[in-house]
């Protein structure tokens, strides 16, 4: 084994006649080292990782001065030669294990595949090795797991199975492309720990992520990618502690964890709002003690496939004060989304009720409620899915403004432009369909639609969880701005404690349908009372202090 697991010199990837997606990227990874390539979506980080596997795509033109895996050049390998090396010399872990695993094959056979292709192990030895691997990645009860289908595993278990398959042949290099992005924080922490162990065992790891905080836990070195170039490379502590480049500084600033409420995370057009400045100090929130939204002993259950009932939300109570933000945090399956749907009266609670400004909301009929609907807006995680696919931005917003009958009037266009301006979009977005917009732009349109009806309360269900950290920073800042301007009261639901901590005044921690802890955000984070809150807090990825 040579000293270097992977050598890349002046890697360029071009698709067709377009501008290169990757311009002259160079780096090395030593055995046992973990290098993280961090960048926003579209920065070329995934394409870089894929070219190292010969998977950049049929119309990609990959060139490099040197591209060596374990000291052997892999430039210009044929498909056949690549197949012989993939899995053996380099393993790959992808973001979504659900689509990476065959839903109809037990995971034991998926893991055994690379053993069958790349080793001379007999059937019995393969079974032993698969059991060993399943144990090594920390899945309980290996004998039982091998027979499970990917659909029977949770997200974290699937990711573990995928890692087991990737390390099966003990490839000297493991490439992990956003391996924890879809996972809960506690599971994410476990998977990162597992990758760290693999690196300790001598495997070189190339970690691809959009989140500096996530990689800072295990990466030895960090390379920041922007527009197809590596703009800054160095030791993790050095890059994060004293970033030299503008892009790196922006990415560090975008991390919401441990930044007090009101701190700006993104660079905006307003010069006074540089990242790090706190607007809250100059313009304090008009927080009042008036309760605008109250949940009283909410419960809701669903029927399981076997006919028994499962409580999704169990005796949940809280109050939202005017102008403040209530953060609801919990992992997947904790009942957050059901709570959001109860608050929006899309579901009726079995017990308890929701009141808006002291008036019955969940207990009222939809006819009565419709008059109040304008005061309760919503922002969804999947912004794209929340727009009628046949409509463009202008139609979506005209409808939300209730101006369908005056859509050609000049005042309508003026109001649309003002609304878009408020969420930081240009009027040129009007004729476009949401499908043609980026994730951040879509969420801005979603916020504009929610603001159109001049609501008092906004229910935000995971509004930033499908966005990159840097785009997330912009959307969080935007929400902060509109809250201040319109004195909005927000319910902010997220699985990401770092985000919730940044935006909330009050906080409620949910687990298995119940609120296990609630109180002022500062108090909950400084001195968590419930062990689960403490566990969640410990798992949040942070930049090294």
């Amino acid at each position: 084994m040579s000293e270097v697991a992977l050598t890349v010199r002046n890697l360029r990837v071009v698709f067709g006649a377009a501008e290169p997606v990757v311009h002259g990227v160079s780096f090395d990874i030593a055995p046992g080292e973990c290098l993280a390539i961090v960048g926003e979506s579209g920065s070329g980080k995934s394409v870089t990782a894929r070219s190292l596997l010969g998977l950049a795509g049929a119309n990609a033109h990959v060139t490099a001065d040197r591209l060596e895996l374990g000291g052997r050049s892999v430039l210009g390998l044929t498909d056949r030669a690549w197949r012989a090396r993939r899995g053996k010399d380099v393993g790959l872990v992808l973001q979504d294990a659900l689509v990476s695993l065959d839903p109809l094959r037990p995971i034991g056979r998926e893991i055994a595949d690379s053993l069958r292709l790349h080793t001379t192990l007999g059937a019995a030895a393969r079974v032993r090795r698969v059991l060993e691997l399943i144990e090594a990645v920390g899945l309980p009860d290996p004998e039982l797991q091998v027979r499970k289908l990917s659909g029977q595993l949770s997200g974290g278990e699937r990711q573990r199975a995928l890692i087991a398959a990737a390390i099966a042949v003990e490839a000297p290099l493991l490439i992990a492309d956003e391996p924890t992005t879809a996972l809960d924080v506690t599971v994410q922490a476990q998977i990162l720990g597992l990758l760290e162990q693999i690196a300790l065992a001598g495997t070189a790891i190339l970690l691809i992520s959009h989140d500096l905080a996530v990689v800072s836990r295990i990466a030895h070195r960090v390379a920041v990618m922007h527009d197809g170039r590596l703009v800054e490379t160095g030791g993790t502590a050095q890059v994060l502690g004293s970033p030299r480049q503008e892009q790196t500084r922006r990415m560090v600033a975008a991390i919401p964890t441990d930044k007090p409420r009101g701190t700006r995370l993104s660079l905006t057009a307003r010069p006074a709002d540089a990242p790090g400045t706190t607007c809250a100090l100059s313009t304090p929130f008009p927080r009042e003690s008036t309760v605008v939204l109250e949940a009283i002993g909410l419960s809701k259950s669903f029927r399981r496939p076997d006919g028994s009932r499962q409580l999704a939300v169990d005796d949940v109570s809280f109050a939202l004060h005017r102008g403040s933000t209530l953060g609801i945090v919990g992992e997947s399956g904790s009942g957050k989304t059901t709570t959001a749907r109860l608050l929006l009266a899309l579901l009726a609670p079995e017990h308890g009720e929701v009141q808006v400004r002291g008036q019955p909301w969940s207990a009222a009929g939809e006819k009565t409620r419709r008059g109040l609907r304008a005061s309760v807006g919503a922002i969804y995680q999947d912004a794209l899915g929340s727009f009628d696919p046949r409509w463009n931005v202008a139609e979506i917003l005209t409808d939300a403004l209730g101006l369908r009958h005056e859509r050609r009037a000049p005042q309508t266009t003026a109001r649309l432009t003002t609304l878009l301006d408020e969420v930081g979009l240009a009027a040129s977005a009007l004729p476009r369909r949401p499908l043609e917009l980026s994730g951040g732009q879509r969420q801005r349109v979603g916020i504009a639609r929610a603001l159109a009806a001049r609501p008092e309360i906004l229910i935000c269900d995971e509004p930033v969880s499908s966005l990159d950290v840097s785009v997330q920073a912009q959307v969080l800042d935007l929400l902060d701005d509109v809250q201040r301007e319109h004195a909005l009261s927000l319910v902010f639901i997220s699985h990401d404690l770092g985000v919730v901590a940044h935006v909330s005044d009050q906080i409620a921690v949910m687990r298995a349908g119940r609120i296990v802890e609630s109180g002022p955000a500062r108090r909950v984070f400084a001195a968590p009372q419930h062990p689960y809150t403490a566990q969640l807090l410990a798992a949040v990825p942070r930049l090294p202090a």
């Binding site: 979504d96 419709r370 969804y380 999947d382 929340s386 727009f387 009628d388 499908l435």
Partner: protein
């Protein structure tokens, strides 16, 4: 998960329709289908433009002529010009095909909407009813209807329409259920829209738009079925210049005068193929638009 799908779709969207654009370019098949569809349309609206003669004009002296300069497609047992008859027959076929599809689609929309929008009891009842209809092959259902109401062009059309309805109803029901639980329908409710507004603005348009593609494909099938019924003597009566009826009349002379059945048959096949090619083309375009 859903976000990933969206990303994949976006990737497919940008790589296919933006750059290479196989979906945008007109294929040879689409071009040919378009030209033939134009020909059919002219033949249906103004048949005298393409074939000035009378399709029922009898000329016993020139009976059984094979295709020649005077009679491009030959003549039948009474000396009627096959080409003129085929052109004039287009009207029947297209009208029968389109009417039958409209009947089938209309019934399908009613049944599918009932099943998809109303409660579980209605859904169950409509579904069992559809399953009973599905148990019969479509053509058998049409035959049954004709047996009860007697042969003729009108009954044949209604019969074909009826037998295609269960298929449409099924698709509409499934599509409705998907759209009804879509996030944008919920978003409209949150904005305070009434049930009728949500139904008319979001649910119906998004359910029905994909159906027009299916309807285009269905017209081809309906034409074949209508011709089949005529061939069996249950639709248009023999002297009428209808393709199925002409095919039936030519059957007797198939060994000596192949052109009598060949040309009507060719037009039935080409029309069905044209409808299919155009339907698929529209479908592809709509998916990438």
């Amino acid at each position: 998960m859903s976000d990933l799908e969206v990303q994949a779709e976006l990737a497919a969207h940008s790589s296919q329709s933006r750059q290479a654009g196989p979906a945008r370019r007109l294929g040879v098949a689409e071009g040919a289908a378009g030209v033939f569809a134009l020909f059919l349309l002219v033949a249906a609206v103004a048949p005298t433009l393409l074939a000035p003669g009378d399709p029922l004009h009898i000329d016993p002296l020139s009976a059984f002529q094979s295709p020649n300069f005077a009679h491009g497609f030959g003549t039948d047992e009474s000396g009627r010009d096959i080409y003129t008859r085929v052109v004039h027959g287009t009207q029947y076929s297209l009208v029968i095909g389109a009417t039958a599809t409209v009947i089938g689609l209309g019934l399908g929309i009613v049944l599918g909407t009932l099943a998809g929008m109303l409660g579980r009891v209605v859904d169950f009842t409509v579904n069992r009813f559809l399953e009973v209809l599905f148990a019969f092959p479509g053509l058998l259902l049409a035959l049954l209807f004709i047996v009860i109401f007697g042969p003729g062009v009108a009954t044949a059309t209604i019969a074909v329409g009826l037998s295609t309805a269960p298929g449409y109803a099924r698709i509409i029901r499934a599509q409705l259920r998907t759209v009804r639980s879509a996030a944008f329908v919920e978003a409209a409710t949150v904005l305070g829209r009434t049930r009728w507004q949500v139904l008319l603005r979001h649910i119906l348009p998004n359910t029905l738009a994909p159906l027009f593609v299916l309807a285009t494909l269905g017209i081809g099938q309906a034409i074949v079925w209508a011709a089949t019924l005529s061939y069996l003597g249950l639709g248009a009566e023999p002297p009428t210049a209808e393709w199925g009826a002409m095919l039936s009349a030519g059957r007797t002379y198939i060994t000596s005068a192949w052109w009598m059945s060949f040309f009507p048959g060719l037009f039935i096949v080409l029309t069905a193929v044209t409808a299919t090619v155009l339907g698929r083309s529209i479908d592809r375009r709509m998916r990438h638009a």
